[in-house]
Each structure stands twice: as C-alpha cells, then as structure tokens.
Amino acid sequence: MIEFSDVTFVHDNGVKALDGITLKVDAGETVAIVGENGAGKTTLVKHVTGLLKPTSGTVLVDEVDTRTTSTATLSRKVGVAFQNPDHQLFSESVEEEMAFALRNFGFPPHLVEQRVSWGLQLFGLEEYRKSSPLVLSGGEKKRLTLACILAWDPGVVILDEPTVGQDAIQKEKLVGTIRMLGSTGKTVIVVSHDIEFLWPLQPRVVVMKSGRIVADGLAKEVMAKKEMLESARVAQPQLVSFYQALARRPGSPFVDALEARRWIEGGQQ
C-alpha cells in the first residue's frame, strides 16, 4: 500500500529531515510512529500525502509514485488529520466543514448528508452541527477533522497526534475507531507521543530518530527495548515498566491492567 525506498529529504536550508527511509506498510496495517521532537515523523507523513516529494528515493502509494501524482489525486486515497486542527478548518458551520471535501470529491447530495450525519454522530459532535467550527474546544476540533476525513473513506488514514486535547473517554473511543478502521482493511498511521494511548492498540511500532528508522516491529517487541527507546527519547508504557520490574513473569508484557491482575491473582492461588 505504502512503500518508501531509501527516501532522503533535505529542506531548502540544507537540514536533512529524512535520511535513508525504507518502509513498507501493507493494506490494513496499523502503524504507530514514535520518536523525539524533530525526528522527522511529520515529514515522513507528508511524503505519504505527496505534500512533500523525496529529494532522493521513491515513495509509492497504491503502487503509484507520489512524484508523478497530483496531491489532489492522492488526497482521495490518503486522509490526514494534522496536528493543529486550525490549519484545516475554515467553513462557516461544522456540517459545511464536513460536506466540503465530500462535494469536492463529487459525492451526490444524499450521500453527503448521510456521511455528515454519520461522522457527527460517531464523534459526538451532533449538537454543534450548525455552529461555527471556531466555537469548538481544541479536542472537539481534532475530532471534527477526523470525522471529515473518515467521511470520504480514504484507504489510508493518517492521524498526527490525535490525542491532544482528548480526555480518557474520547481516547478510548479513538482506540475503538482505529480498531474499527483496521478491521475494515484501512491502513492507519498514527503519529503520537502518547505512548499510554498507543499501547492498548498493540500496533506495529516504528521508532524514528534524526530522520532514520531505529526500530520497527510489534509493540511488545519494540516497547521492551528500554535503552533503544530512551536514546530516541521515548518512554516505555507503564505496564511494560511494571512487567520488566517483576522477577518472575509471563512470556510477554501485559496489554492492560486487567490482564496483569489475572496473572498476579493466578500466582496467588
């Protein structure tokens, strides 16, 4: 679905933001990208959407080279919810905001209406249907940008720091939404510093540092590597720290507190 082959990207000022990235993401995979501020995570994501083109190497999305495809064509395939929702909200009302891209992509009016209602309901934004997006709280704006993207049903969904401004209930819903997307065959890329949010998703984890990929594997494998994570300024999930501090333990870290409790209570009997 997405294929980076030895991609290097150098900014106009000479700073190398991506340095030899090779990465293949299959359709239906959920991939978390983590790493320090300035590691190149957002730059990488912008290569998937075609907003940035590699200085050298190639990026294929759906087997098409992003250098020879227009951003407009790519945007039908790849939906991104950027870090700062203010960069992508501009309509007079929340429903207009959602309908905008749908109309642009040529959806018929009845489908536009259906998708708008679906999205507003999914993200708990119905009461704001007629309101200006500007009156929404930071967390609500983030949810609106996500609703807008999911409405046109792109094959690849990219979420850049989706948990900013979200409370625990919204984060749990977001975990549910990402799982739902994964189970319907969508490719989901989540860029996040919120390790505690990522952990229950058990995604494939890609760790970036200084424009390179320093680790890539299942969450349980990657999150177990304490020193590697520290050098990339990433923290271990609390339950992994807990697991590693135990002298006697099962084969792999606990995904949630309930699982840990069952294991501990089993040992008590």
Binding site: G38, G138, G165, A168, Q170, Q238
Partner: protein, 281 residues
C-alpha cells in the same frame, strides 16, 4: 497558608451561548501548590483559565458573576498590565507566544512591554534563561528550535515576569515523552526554588501525578472532584469524568481491593512490581 488564588462562585456565559461555560465554581489554591485541572474535553477548562489570567472579562465579554482573586486582588478590578506580573500563562502551542528574532529578545518581550529598566531587565532575562538551562540557545532564532526547546523559551519568557502563579495549558501534549518528563521535573524544581504556584490543565496524568498536590476535576462547567491524586484516582467517579487513570494506578486499585497492594498512596510501576513480588512470595 494564604490562598494565592481564590475563585468564589464564578459563573461565565459567552454571548450567544445557550449554557454557562463555568458554573458556580469555588476553588482555593495556596501559594506553592501544584494543582492539576482535568475533565472531559469541552468541559470549560480553557474558560476557567481565561478567567484566572484575566482574558475573561477583559478581552472576552459575556455574563460574569462571582469573583476571581489572585494574591488578594480581584481579577475583574485589576488591569491586564498588573495581572501580567502576577499570572503567567503558557499556551499549549509555544508557537503562539514566541515570535522575536532571538531567544533572548523573546524572553525579554514581556518586560520590555512593561517598561522595566534595562539593568533589571538584563538580570531577569539572564535569571530565567539560567533557570531553564537554555543559555546555549539565547542567540538562536526561536523558529529554528525544536518543540521542546520552544516550550522552554516560552516558559522562560513567562518566568522573567516573575509571576507568583503560572498556568500551563496541556504543556506536554506536543512534547516527546522524555521532554515531557523533563518539563514535569522543571515544574517541581521551580516550585521548590521559587515557591511558584502552578495550575496545570493536563490529560496525561501518568506524567503529572508525580508533582501534583491536588487534582480538580470539572464537568459541564462545574467542579465535581477536588482531592489528592490518590483520592481522586482511587475514587469510583474519576472514570466517569474522563480522567485518565494511569495504567499502573488502575492495576494498583484492582490489587488493593484484594488486599494485594496498599491503597493509601500511589505507587510507581517499579514500586508496584516489588509489592506484588513480596505478597506473592
């Protein structure tokens, strides 16, 4: 102890909004306390912060009742100029508050606006830069810095004003985990060194419980919980208000019910692991 911040039955409604954003809110924060403000997104946290730093009612008009006092002075009766010297505000996104050509000029910006004499300004800028350990950045352009560095620069600008109260609005949300932990340590050290009081809006409690004296939870504009991190996180209600109970605390809470872990204090992951091993042996 003297209360540095007092909210007395504060209510506020934005024009054209059908309901109040803040409802009959009472709060007392003593000098040197670190209070975390949590609650569902859209519950009125940002409005409450604006009422503390004076943006409400000085910049946002609306229906206001009750009172907010900082260091004994009513926010409504104080000028923004006076408030700027008592209350510091760090925005979620540091790019909203740094814009000068060099870090040093940025840190000095607030003081320049107040017309602080040059020698005094120099001293306070140097002190703030030193406290945040950004001497090496002082001649750099803020826009070239990493997000974590920008956050430090913005906080240095706040500190140079020597506020007694600093408000942080989701300060860790854009920082990588290690940088976020460093910011939390910085809050602890500023409180210790300068006695600064902090009100922090934060959803990632796993980071903050270490330094928080209290967690105040709001819902639909009203205060619904107010207690020590242990009391709030061990209580039954926190989940319902969207408070992120850290995974290890969640586990401790379950184990405590079965007598396998203490319930009088919060344990770190390592502490909980050693408790479990002792009990299991």
């Amino acid at each position: 102890m003297v209360n540095l911040l007092e909210l007395d039955k504060l209510s506020f409604r934005y024009p054209d909004s059908p309901r109040k954003a803040v409802v009959d809110f009472d709060l007392a924060v003593s000098e040197g306390e670190v209070v975390v403000l949590a609650g569902p997104s859209g519950c009125g946290k940002s409005t409450l912060l604006r009422a503390i730093n004076g943006l409400i009612p000085h910049m946002y008009t609306g229906e206001y009742s009750g009172d907010v006092r900082v260091a004994g002075s009513s926010v409504r009766a104080s000028s923004m100029r006076d408030l700027a010297q008592t209350v510091g505000f760090l925005f979620q996104n540091p790019e909203n508050q740094i814009f000068m050509f060099t870090v040093e000029r940025d840190v000095a910006f607030g003081l320049e606006n107040l017309g602080v004499p040059r020698p005094e300004m120099r001293r306070r800028v140097d002190e703030a830069i030193d406290l945040l350990g950004i001497e090496n950045l002082s001649q750099r352009a803020p826009h070239e810095l990493s997000d974590g560095q920008k956050q430090r620069v913005a906080l240095a600008g706040v500190l140079a004003m020597r506020p007694r109260l600093i408000i942080l609005d989701e300060p860790t949300s854009l920082l990588d985990p290690k940088t976020a932990m460093e910011l939390v340590d910085l809050v602890a050290s500023l409180r210790k060194q300068l006695g600064t009081t902090f009100v922090v809006v934060e959803h990632r409690l796993d980071l903050l419980v270490k330094v928080a004296d209290r967690i105040v939870v709001m819902n639909a504009g009203a205060k619904v919980l107010d207690g020590t991190p242990r009391d709030v996180l061990f209580g039954e209600e926190a989940d319902g208000y969207g408070v992120s109970v850290p995974a290890v605390t969640r586990l401790q809470k379950m184990l405590a019910k079965d007598g396998l872990a203490p319930d009088d204090r919060l344990l770190s992951a390592a502490e909980l692991a050693s408790t479990v091993e002792r009990k299991g042996a």
